[in-house]
């Protein structure tokens, strides 16, 4: 019989995974057995520890919050909106729900019989995989480790603070060197020497039963306690500590400290009774633990030519790719990349200085501007920089300026060779306008602040985010002081900066209204930089400036500082910082994926979870813009 409702439900479900993977008949069977549920705001679909329903749920309209109660706190784990499935617990095991599901707004849900889905899962491997993955991939915490097969990984992650080491799966050596327990100590030592390793495993039936390390040879053999002709079993440490292949660095470190050992055995299932698959040494962890960037920086300090800088910068891109793939927190990534960027710039300056015929006539400072100044430049972009030199007498000015312009030109050319392209707007120290003495800079900023034309405001947004890279720090301090004095004496400037911060409205309505670029090359694409990142950058700059905070140029650091200054707005600022991290991570990921600036996103490439992530970020933008609107009375003064 015809069933219009089932057809409509079919049409809805087929847009969302895993239903899009089903055969038509399978999906129609599901659709025609759906129960439609209406639920009011703040009502529960189910509660934590409740016994599972016969159904799981998909959100048709509205939004369902998943909450986990810990002690007395209700923690929002995830928000499900249109097309999201939840309440899959009964599918996995007939056990109590681990979370509560509460309607965040009035919602319509489709309840789908677990029994029917179970039947389908058994015949459709792809659906099975998706269901498992949907437990482990977590939308709310974008840095969560992807750990397929580990159901409810999102809860594990909720309990961890995802620091660098915890999210990373340790890389162990997959070809462990081993011998039998009948081997003599001498033979074992010969194998170790030949293979250039510091340890050898003793294996019986492919299972690790003991280990000998350099230390054992040193303390037990070289001291003459035991003869080298004895069997390895005489001196081996036994039993060995075993872990599964999924061991994280954090787990490995803890295990090593706890057992006072330097080597862990990796076996198929993590128990000592399973087949040996690898060995993880303390050294492996040291290598993993940020050794790569330090090697790069070491290489930079030793660099004698631009080609080396270029090589390091290319290496850095690989490093970045690895970090993004491993979901390492963006704040950590940007710190490392900024260090390398700065080190490259410093080297470019040093190399250029060496090429000059004379030493600099007076002290000077090199400033990075814009995203590099904020230490948020992850993907390689064009260069924005400026130079400031000590005040000199009138007669020396021309000569001095000429010297620094020549120097700047050398530096910018080198940076260009490295890969930081020349700034199309010529915001570089090689431009006479941006290679100025201290008093000239003070004057320049004062003009921008007291005569805030639209262009002046735009300049401020670029030049306010300067970061001292090389030279005399004192010069830059003096400039900063002068700028803050100007800002304080001309308060309306902040209101104007506030207006500027709101010029790109929050894209909250993005997914419904398609707030995308309407013309040009990037038609039908979303401008992530100007629509999402810039509003947050502008807001952070404005608010820290209004609090007279001098030493914070980084957007995340600025929001964190604001949290301390305005504890009453803590949640808002934290959510802004989080959103910024997510967006920056996302942009970097996009940029790496498509080998471009990552600035524009094609709408049709967005996955459901990407959309949700972005939507969450846009909410923060909306909120911070509301705050700015009120605080800087933008509606009142009619700006």
């Amino acid at each position: 019989m015809k069933n219009t409702i089932a057809e409509r439900i079919f049409d809805f479900l087929k847009n969302f995974p895993p239903f899009d993977l089903l055969e038509k008949e399978q999906l129609f069977k599901i659709a025609s057995h759906v129960k439609v549920i209406y639920i009011e705001k703040n009502d529960f679909v189910f509660k934590q520890a409740e016994y599972p329903h016969e159904n799981f749920y998909i959100v048709k309209d509205g939004a369902i919050g998943l909450y986990r109660t810990m002690d007395s706190d209700q923690i929002l784990v995830d928000i499900c909106d249109e097309g999201d499935i939840f309440g899959l617990r009964p599918l996995v095991q007939n056990d109590q729900y681990l979370m509560s599901a509460k309607a965040n707004e009035e919602s319509i849900l489709y309840a789908i019989s677990v029994e029917i889905l179970k039947e389908i899962i058994n015949s459709n491997e792809k659906v099975k995989k998706y269901i498992i993955a949907s437990f482990s991939s977590n939308i709310k915490t974008p840095y969560a480790r992807t750990n397929p097969g580990n159901l409810f990984a999102n809860i594990d992650n909720l309990e961890n603070d995802n620091t660098f080491s915890e999210v990373q799966t340790a890389q162990y050596s997959k070809n462990p060197i081993f011998c039998s327990k009948e081997t003599t100590i001498k033979e074992a030592a010969l194998i170790m020497s030949e293979k250039k390793v510091g340890s050898i495993l003793i294996v019986e039936d492919q299972k690790p039963i003991g280990i000998i390390t350099d230390k054992d040879l040193r303390t037990k053999i070289a001291t003459g306690l035991i003869s080298i002709e004895k069997k390895v079993s005489e001196i081996m440490s036994s039993p060995v500590i075993t872990f599964s292949e999924k061991i994280t660095i954090a787990e490995a470190q803890i295990a090593m400290i706890k057992h006072k050992i330097t080597h862990l055995c990796i076996t198929k299932n993590g128990t000592p009774n399973a087949e040996l698959t690898g060995i993880l040494s303390e050294h492996d962890i040291v290598v993993l633990h940020g050794n790569n960037p330090s090697v790069l920086i070491k290489e930079l300090t030793r660099a004698k030519e631009v080609a080396t800088l270029k090589y390091v910068r290319e290496k850095t891109s690989n490093l970045l790719k690895g970090y993004i793939e491993q979901n390492i927190p963006i704040a950590f990534i940007s710190k490392i990349i900024a260090e390398i960027n700065d080190a490259i710039t410093i080297k470019a300056i040093e190399l250029s200085l060496a090429e000059m015929e004379t030493a600099p006539p007076v002290k000077f400072g090199w400033l990075a501007l814009g995203s590099q100044g904020r230490k948020e430049q992850l993907l390689i972009t064009d260069q924005d920089n400026a130079l400031i030199f000590e005040d000199v007498s009138k007669e020396d000015y021309k000569k001095t300026k000429a010297y620094f312009l020549q120097l700047s030109e050398k530096i910018t050319i080198k940076l260009n060779t490295v890969g930081y392209e020349f700034c199309p707007a010529d915001m570089m120290a090689s431009n006479p306008k941006w290679c100025l003495s201290l008093s000239e800079w003070k004057q320049q900023f004062n003009t921008w602040i007291t005569k805030p034309t639209e262009e002046a405001i735009m300049m401020c947004t670029i030049f306010f985010d300067y970061n001292f890279v090389y030279g005399d720090k004192e010069l830059v301090h003096k400039l900063t002081k002068s700028i803050f004095k100007s800002v304080q004496s001309f308060e309306i400037f902040l209101n104007l900066l506030g207006k500027n911060a709101l010029k790109n409205p929050s894209p909250l309505g993005f997914f419904r209204q398609f707030l995308v670029e309407h013309d040009g090359e990037h038609k039908d694409q979303f401008d992530l930089k100007s629509r999402a990142l810039m509003p947050l950058i502008d807001a952070a700059r404005l608010l820290t400036l209004s609090h007279n905070i001098k030493d914070k140029n980084n957007t995340i650091a600025r929001f964190n500082k604001l949290v301390k200054i305005e504890p009453q707005n803590k949640d808002l600022y934290l959510s802004c910082a989080d959103s910024f991290k997510i967006l920056l991570h996302y942009r970097t990921e996009q940029g790496l994926k498509y080998n471009n600036s990552g600035r524009y996103i094609a709408l049709n490439t967005l996955s459901k979870s990407d959309k949700l992530k972005l939507k969450g970020c846009f909410k923060s933008i909306n909120d911070i813009q509301d705050l700015i609107k009120i605080r800087f009375s933008l509606s009142l003064i009619g700006l």
Binding site: K2, T4, A6, R8, A31, S32, K35, V36, Y38, A111
Partner: protein, 222 residues
């Protein structure tokens, strides 16, 4: 005597309907009550001359719309009004599988079982159905009936003096998306959504029981 005589002659399907409704014991416990949200598409609004084109219905129990428990039937037409084709889209010789009016009604009563009927402007749909039953020498429908219009009026006291709310108006008020508007089953589903929302609202100030709900509806179920 005449009544007694008549009753003896009831066809089996009609006798069954009478007995089912009379003997139903579910009405005391709200969660057990099966509601059937229904809508009809007709050739027009004339009770005597127009005919039912389609009956669509979906069951609701314990605040859940049961898609598997739904009903949709298209009826062969002798009367045809091309004006209303624009509204319901059912053509005289459309592709839907159509059955005779009698078959449709028998199937519907079988589906209806002991359910309470819920519709929007119930009087219209019921009169159309009852007139069709009359052509089979039976009727009217014995089931208890509710009307979303009247339940809404009971809750939304600020609109007390407005007599009629259209289905579209209620969709606006209760934020129900209008998919498949003007298909019988589509409108039945919309009615079901509205009914769920109404009963949720109703529950806040009233104890939800059938008698109270039926009392919102002062001209049906006399």
């Amino acid at each position: 005597m005449l009544n007694f005589f008549k009753r003896k002659k009831y066809p089996e399907f009609w006798q069954k309907h009478i007995d089912t409704v009379k003997n139903c014991k579910k009405y005391a416990n709200y969660e057990n009550i099966r509601f059937v949200a229904l809508d009809t598409e007709t050739t027009g609004f004339d009770y005597e001359n127009d005919r039912i084109l389609c009956i669509g219905a979906v069951a609701i129990q314990n605040n859940r719309i049961l898609v598997s428990d739904s009903f949709e039937v298209y009826i062969k037409q002798d009367v045809f009004n091309k004006e209303t084709v624009k509204i319901h889209g059912i053509r005289k010789n459309g592709t839907e599988i159509k059955v005779s009016e009698e078959e449709a009604l028998i199937a519907f009563l079988d589906y209806l079982d002991d359910a309470i009927i819920i519709a929007h402007h119930t009087k219209f749909d019921m009169t159309m159905i009852n007139n069709a039953l009359k052509r089979l020498n039976v009727g009217p429908i014995q089931s208890k009936q509710l009307d979303t219009n009247y339940i809404h009026k009971k809750i939304a006291t600020e609109d007390r003096f407005k007599k009629l709310f259209s289905l579209d108006e209620l969709c606006e008020i209760y934020n129900v998306k209008k998919h498949d508007r003007h298909t019988a089953l589509g409108d039945a589903l919309i009615t079901a959504y509205i009914f769920l929302k109404l009963t949720f609202k109703y529950k806040k100030n009233n104890v939800l029981n059938l008698t109270e709900l039926i009392n919102t509806n002062y001209y049906l179920n006399k």
